[in-house]
């Protein structure tokens, strides 16, 4: 479904991504793990069109994405949940979700998607009229995820959804990610919480300072000595 070949991204003179290749198959959960500054967010932004790559290719199905502006990529079925709970603080939960469907025109379909989001996140339904900025951290993360789902994407990019959440909430979020995947959405998950990410991933890649150093199934990597040492604390 998504195929990245020899992707390079630079910030001015600094090359943050130095030529990486990976694939996300239809219906899979694929995770990209790596330490701070490895280039995970940079990779995500390049895929969703927020950053222009310096080289390489990004294929979504049969379409090359590198030449397409970000606002059109969303309507092609690729949605991103950006890092750090970026909600529209001064708008209500409902308005945030409506904005998630910004590229869609079918009113009935949008209302249906909103119902689905509320089923997945009942807490958002209770707070539909609340200002997004006053939600708790966990609720804001749910809102950011719900908002991306409003575009009815075929592939969802998640950038560190567990960041700064309590263990209980992290479990809940990961549970929901699996749920979303079961409903037919392919998932590319970026995480520092390697243990949890590897547990739900079909396949995984390890990113280190702009290069992919390891890859395998989630289970393989979870049992890999190097991964254990560097990311799983022992």
């Amino acid at each position: 479904m998504l195929k990245i070949t020899d992707l390079k991204v630079s910030y001015g003179m600094i090359e943050a991504i130095k030529g990486i290749s990976f694939e996300v198959g239809d219906g899979e959960i694929v995770t990209l793990i790596g330490a701070n500054g490895a280039g995970k967010t940079t990779t995500m932004h390049a895929i969703s069109g927020l950053l222009k790559p310096a080289g390489g290719g990004i294929m979504l199905g049969d379409t090359e994405l590198t030449k397409i502006p970000s606002h059109r990529i969303v309507s092609m079925g690729l949605a991103q949940v950006p890092e750090g709970r970026r909600v529209f603080a001064l708008q209500t939960v409902e308005e945030n979700l409506t904005l998630g469907a910004y590229t869609r025109k079918d009113k009935a379909g949008i209302a249906g998607s909103m119902e689905k989001v509320f089923e997945l996140f009942p807490r958002l339904k209770e707070r539909r009229k609340q200002m997004a900025g006053t939600l708790s951290g966990g609720e804001q993360q749910m809102l950011a995820m719900g908002r991306a789902l409003m575009a009815e994407p075929s592939i969802l990019l998640l950038d560190e959804p567990s960041m700064g959440l309590s263990p209980l909430l992290v479990s809940e979020i990961f549970h929901i990610i699996v749920e979303i995947n079961k409903n037919g959405t392919t998932i590319l998950l970026v995480e520092q919480n390697a243990k949890r990410a590897l547990a739900i991933a079909d396949r995984a890649y390890v990113l280190e300072t702009g290069l992919i150093t390891l890859s395998g199934t989630g289970e393989e990597l979870a049992n890999d000595e190097r991964v254990k040492k560097a990311y799983l604390g022992g």
Binding site: L50, P82, R86, V87, F88, A89, L99, Y102, R147, A148
Partner: protein
Amino acid sequence: MSDKKKLPAFLSDKKYRGRLTSFSMVLIMYIVIEILMNTGNLSSLFTSLLVPVCCYIVAAIGLNLNVGISGELNLGQACFMSVGAFSAVCVSGSLASSVPDVPRLVISMIVGAILAAVFGILIGIPVLKLEGDYLAIVTLAFGQIVKSLITNMYLGIDEAGYHFSFVDNNVELIPGGKMLLNGPMGATGTQRISTFTAGVVLVVVALIIVYNLMFSRSGRAIMAARDNRIAAESVGIEIVRIKLLAFGISSCLAGAAGALYGLNYSTLIPAKFDFNTSILLLVYVVLGGLGNMNGTMIATIILVLLPELLRSMQDYRMLIYAIVLILIMLLTNNEMVKTWIQKAYLRLSTDRKGR
């Protein structure tokens, strides 16, 4: 609670309430002023301020759309008024003999508005692509450029057509012709065709345009881009296009306001729309509350009228002006005062129901 539910949708919903307040405020003020004027109870000073107040309100509403809703700082709103004013004066001067007053005023205002919008969009396209307060810097510079350009422009019209010169005035006209733009002296001998009614109509039109935009899909996208650029991009909002829309409408309203202003005076100098005027407009917007159109209107009315009405106080004039500035800021932007007023209002309304 049950009371609240019975209210029709346009009263219970906050956004409709704001709109309703705006339009009723304008309507009531219009009626009161018309009555006062027709019964001869309005001083000539006050009467002479009616049109300018309407112009500043419209320019400030436009500016609030750009600064408050879209979150882009603009330090040159007055120069968009300038573009509107001087183009309208030229249009009106050219059509003076052939078109009656009212349609001439409308045509001039439309031309002024369109021209200002074109300038706004031309500036906005490159600048709004950048993240940061670049628009503030560029509009500041644009204000200076426009002022210098108009100060050096000479335009005359006679039977042979238009005559134009730049820097040095070498426009020679056949007798019967007239100068439309006269360099540093600006526009002279303009026929005064602006009316208070036209001003009020313009305010209403501006309010309709701004409110419709604010509560539309595009309006929510504009606010989303202001609140969080990356998140807005991630849901597929075209940031540049949407910010350009707000800035274009903002300039367009300033252009229309300037046109009305220009046609309200027989002489108009380019220095009228300088940096100070831009800052004053920004003061009206900030004091009235970012994104709050009613606040903008009230702040503009008070702050335009006050210095004029205080002329007799001489020494105390600026002191009172400063105190009023602080009071308005407290009233419109201070949470404590706001809650206090809301509570007082609630108590009053429940008292009345109790009886």
